[in-house]
Symmetry: C2
Subunit: 120 residues, 2 copies
Amino acid sequence: MDTKKPIEKCEFLCVHEDVVQEVLRKMPEEETLFQLADFFKVFGDSTRIRILYALRETELCVCDIASLLGLTQTAVSHQLRVLKTSKLVKARRNGKTVFYSLDDDHIHRILDMGICHLEE
Amino acid sequence: MDTKKPIEKCEFLCVHEDVVQEVLRKMPEEETLFQLADFFKVFGDSTRIRILYALRETELCVCDIASLLGLTQTAVSHQLRVLKTSKLVKARRNGKTVFYSLDDDHIHRILDMGICHLEE
DNA sequence: TGAATATATGAATAACTATTCATATGATAT
DNA sequence: ATATCATATGAATAGTTATTCATATATTCA
């Protein structure tokens, strides 16, 4: 079928089979790693990180966040939805205003560690 | 100039000015937060996370990683370059083979924390 | 030197995602 | 009820990025 194969592909000729098997055995589940990547992905956007670190200080309404960070209300709302879906923030309604805050202390600690990391 | 403005935009009428100022004062530098987002971004890709957790067990050559994770050699090489640029992995050449490993113990600890997080 | 092998890389493609625009919803006050 | 304000959301757009393809580089061995 495959009539033209100009260069013979290096199809893992060099694999250290025993090492590979050992690593496969010890590594976390595939599923776990995909979840972990998704978790980090949420932090991997400057808009969301800035929102999170603003909320680290105090709860804020959508307009406050937009003003604070120089963003449109719409952009902030969209990102807050992402953060809420990921259980990183929670919302509290007070009349027309919706106040957002970090979902729990666990998130606080993660953000504290983030700061810590950059200081190393 | 702006002849047609059907709906008057909500331009931060609700801002709690004092709170916003206080938060701005306390928050980390903009620059710092952008760096932090970039840092998380590297972890926020399943291919890279899987490579990192494979390397958490032992050093591996490019072919081993590709075989282990069911990826092409090219895809792995490209991502290893990203990880190397971000100082997360380092390379050691032995003949034709290049072995990659986590750059330092700090990265090890971060990966350990990742696992920890998912167990909560 | 030339063949073979392991890895790297530039360019093109494909997939994803953040932002914007227009508009809807939800709440208050008159 | 209606007008106004704060927020939410669907669709389109624009920007980004992971993967693939083709090929280059680096090293070893005959």
